[in-house]
């Protein structure tokens, strides 16, 4: 892998009604792009959930964003206070991208 092309890949599991708050934080950290991925259901320490359009309270998305190290670090700092209260799960890894200047 070419380290110049490496960027941080962040995945945040977030409740649907809160997704746009996470997007705002990403934007505040200077991250310009993200993609929300659809989930079906899941289980954690707080029991199981599945998509529920009726109450709109239990659907979750995976917020996926790729960014350079600086922005990723800033984003994680901004997320910090929400982690416990909002029950977020955050995964962090690295990927190689094409046209790295975009991220």
């Amino acid at each position: 892998m070419n380290p110049a092309n490496q960027r941080e890949r962040l995945e945040v599991l977030v409740d649907a009604p809160l997704a746009h708050r996470v997007a705002e934080l990403a934007e505040r950290a200077g991250i310009t792009g993200h993609t929300l991925i659809r989930t079906e259901s899941g289980r954690g320490r707080n029991g199981s959930w599945s998509e529920d359009l009726l109450s709109g309270a239990t659907a979750k998305y995976i917020f996926l964003t790729v960014a350079n190290r600086d922005r990723a670090t800033r984003f994680l700092e901004l997320l910090e206070p929400l982690l416990e209260s909002h029950g977020l799960v955050v995964l962090h890894s690295t990927v190689e991208v094409i046209r790295p200047e975009r991220f």
Binding site: D15, L18, N46, T58
Partner: protein, 320 residues
């Protein structure tokens, strides 16, 4: 009780029971979420239109004002009555008791619709303007619940929440359809009545089938519904329903409207409030409030509550 068996043997309630039994037997019967959402939107548009058309016919009277005032008061105050009991007897913390209390102050559209259907089927006709009361009662309880939950910390409201409260989708759709119904009147309603009137009871059946499935699955999936809380899920609607009947009788509504105000007070939200709580009180236990509202209170109201509040309304009308 003749009322009770008439309720239990109506198609909508039978479909609700079928859904409940299927979920108990752990059948894989399931209605896609998207369709449930669509049916819920349809029911709101239809009930709004129907109410508006009726008000266009009957005119707006002082009854409407009185009923709205009573409804607003109930929605705003019930959470404050309910919350202390959730904390002491129910053993919930402040945040969860605020979140659950907001649900009991607010209302359930489908309980309202089912009550209208069952009452109307036996000639106990509810006034059209009660749809507007339904819409008004959806959101004040959210503010009360948040005040309870956040009494100490300063910022109770943010702009997201305010929008949620004022322009909540179900409130907009109910009030919007109500206004459209008032504008188009009976004549303008005619071309759309095959969809919104003739199809109504059938869609309600399918929707209640799904609610039966959801109600039972909510109870079996949650980990935090204690016996005490389940008991409160039955006692709250009885007490709140009685308060609703009392309020309606005091402001001088007719018996069917009094009964429906009882239904509204007794019912617990499962649309507007859960989404607002997820937004404003993300620490609260979603599984818990949905289990209480959808799993316990909703079935109780559909099966037992609807005839009960009618009986209370008729009794109160005779006594007061």
């Amino acid at each position: 009780m003749d009322q009770l068996s008439a309720t239990l043997l109506s198609a909508p309630v039978l479909f609700f029971l079928l859904g409940g039994l299927a979920a108990l037997a752990r059948s894989d019967l399931a209605i896609p979420e998207t369709l449930a959402k669509g049916m819920s939107l349809y029911l709101m548009a239809a009930i709004g239109l129907k109410g508006g058309v009726e008000v266009a016919k009957a005119g707006i009277g002082t009854d409407l004002i009185a009923a709205m005032a009573a409804g607003l008061l109930l929605s705003a105050c019930l959470p404050f009555l309910v919350a202390p009991i959730l904390r002491s007897f129910g053993k919930l913390d402040r945040v969860n008791s605020g979140a659950v209390a907001a649900h009991y102050g607010s209302v359930s559209v489908v309980t309202f619709v089912t009550a209208n259907q069952i009452y109307g089927g036996s000639g106990f006709i509810v006034a059209g303007f009660m749809v507007a009361v339904l819409a008004m009662m959806e959101t004040p309880a959210i503010l009360s619940g948040l005040i309870i939950a956040k009494r100490q910390s300063g910022n109770v409201f943010d702009k997201d929440l305010l929008r949620e409260v004022l322009f909540n989708g179900s409130v907009v759709l109910l009030l919007g359809s109500f206004c459209i119904g008032m504008i188009i009147g009976e004549q303008g309603f005619e071309p759309i009545s095959p969809l919104f009137k003739a199809g109504f009871t059938g869609v309600l059946c399918l929707f209640l089938l799904d609610m039966g499935l959801i109600a039972v699955r909510r109870i079996t999936q949650t980990r935090s519904l204690t016996m005490r809380l389940a008991l409160l899920g039955v006692l709250f609607p009885i007490a709140n329903g009685a308060l609703g009947v009392l309020a309606g009788t005091l402001v001088g509504l007719d018996a069917p409207s009094v009964a429906v105000l009882g239904v509204l007070a007794a019912s617990a939200s499962y649309i507007a409030v859960p989404a607002a709580m997820r937004l404003s009180l993300p620490q609260a236990d979603t599984g818990l409030y949905l289990a209480m509202s959808l799993g316990v209170t909703f079935p109780f109201n559909i099966v037992v509550g609807i005839p009960l509040y009618r009986w209370l309304a008729e009794t109160a009308g005779g006594v007061l």
